[in-house]
Amino acid sequence: MSNAGMSAGAGAAIDIALSAAQAAPGASALEAARLALARDLRLAFRKRGQLIQPLAFFALVTMLFPLAVSPELARLRAIAPGVLWVAALLASLLALEFLFRDDAYDGTLEQYALSGQSLTWLLFAKSVAHWLLTGLPLALMAPFAAMSLGVAAAAVPGIIVVMLVGTVALSLIGAIGAALTLGMKRSGALLALLTLPLSLPVLIYGARATQLAIGGSSFIAPLELLAALAVLCVTLAPLAAAAAVRISLE
């Protein structure tokens, strides 16, 4: 194992490869973001329990409503939008706690902040990973949950689109909350307290758009508002999260 024990030839080969790597050019911002994203995805698939937890929560909550409220389809259909969105909001909140916590503990965030790359950009990549791991699966699960609540199959495309757009905003708003509560030991309750009020517009427009989609009418107006919220979050949330992370590193 020791360097002394290595043959001179192997040592020289190592040195040549090392020198080549040391002379490598800096990574572009896009490359850095791709790696930050890929790292989070790979880590998530190594820790499947953490990945499945919010999705299982969403499925359970939506399945419990028919049992608790009434098996009457018309009634279930009426509450379906609200149930779907409240469950999605809480499920995404459940996953938020892990967004930056491990990275803060093991020094990854510190290395990101000192990488010479834009921290805003790297945190955006992390938020995209979070959306891919929670928002996207939630949007894909939503039609099944909706159908178990008596929603017609015709509404499925609308539900998926609304969920996809809304969860983008949820992930990014959540990133701000997660970054702000980084320094705290038991941050769960505070995280909810910070994030839920900010998420209310998403909840309101999301539920309204879903309701219209289920009713078979045009849901473009609330969807546009939802999309505007998502764009706002995409542009501003990473900046706010980066500022919060910098403060937590001090």
Binding site: I16, L35, T108, E110, Q111, A113, S115
Partner: protein
């Protein structure tokens, strides 16, 4: 090719003779950098004895600043009521190593984190190549590598994956380079093992592999020899000597003796 040849020369010389050809200890200029951490802060802009006893040039005023020149001016920092950095100042040029010593809680880590820009001092500034680092933090950060006392590794990734993502965010690193770095630090066997299964010393070695890959002008190391066996400590010394030999600068916080290869480092004593 030239760079490769040079690296070989340095390494060979480290095998038997601890001092590589281009590395000259500055023992004759005195180890003590200058009295720092004074209770009363040095007045801003006061003439500083930079430790260049033999150098008649006033580096700061003439602006004849050598490249890779790190300078701290009268750093003052409080943590709550605790005055941690009490007017720390020093200069460091190419190929020089500064050892920050002091008892636990004296502020060694705080100093390193202030130098790299993670913490903002209440007063004073850090200059890199004559410019305040706050004016262009990203440029300064791409010139430095900070290694804290915890290795920045993910428990659920293998050693090689960790290096790939960690270093890859900063520079395009070929796979052969990653393997070479792991071999260089004697962590070959850990390559495909999850970091959670590694011992503390092995983790430290993987972190050192990251250091070996990052050829940047400034290293800030916090207790780099923690958890390492005697051979690992020599490895730290060899890596540091290589960094100095190619003209890089190092600030290392440790209360242990530095490895023999960099024993001639200047010292900065932090008073608790």
């Amino acid at each position: 090719m030239h760079a490769a040849a040079k690296a070989v020369v340095v390494r060979k010389s480290l095998g038997g003779n601890p001092v590589p050809v281009r590395f000259r200890p500055q023992a004759d200029q005195g180890h003590q950098l200058r009295v720092t951490n004074l209770r009363k802060a040095a007045p801003q802009g006061a003439e500083q004895d930079c430790g260049y006893g033999a150098n008649p040039m006033n580096l700061r005023d003439s602006r004849a600043v050598p490249a890779n020149h790190l300078e701290a001016e009268n750093l003052q920092l409080w943590r709550g009521d605790h005055h941690v950095l009490k007017g720390v100042g020093f200069t460091l040029s190419r190929g020089e190593c500064l050892q920050v010593t002091g008892s636990n809680g004296a502020g060694k880590t705080t100093l390193l984190r202030t130098l790299c820009g993670l913490m903002v001092p209440e007063e004073g500034r850090v200059l890199w190549e004559g410019r305040d680092v706050r004016t262009d933090l990203p440029a300064f950060h791409s010139a430095l590598m900070y290694l804290g006392h915890e290795a920045p590794l993910k428990a659920d990734l293998t050693a090689r994956e960790n290096l790939y993502y960690w270093i890859g965010v900063r520079r395009r690193t070929p796979g052969a380079g990653l393997d070479a770095a792991l071999s260089r630090v004697g962590a070959d066997a850990c390559r495909e093992r999850l970091v959670r299964t590694l011992s503390a010393g092995q983790k430290r070695r993987v972190a050192l592999a990251g250091l070996a890959l990052m050829f940047c002008p400034l290293w800030l190391l916090d207790e780099p020899t923690t958890n390492l066996d005697a051979e690992g400590q020599q490895l730290v010394g060899a890596l540091m000597a290589e960094q100095l030999a190619r003209g890089g600068a190092i600030v290392v916080a440790t209360h242990q003796q530095l490895p023999a290869a960099v024993r001639a480092a200047r010292r900065l004593e932090m008073a608790a």
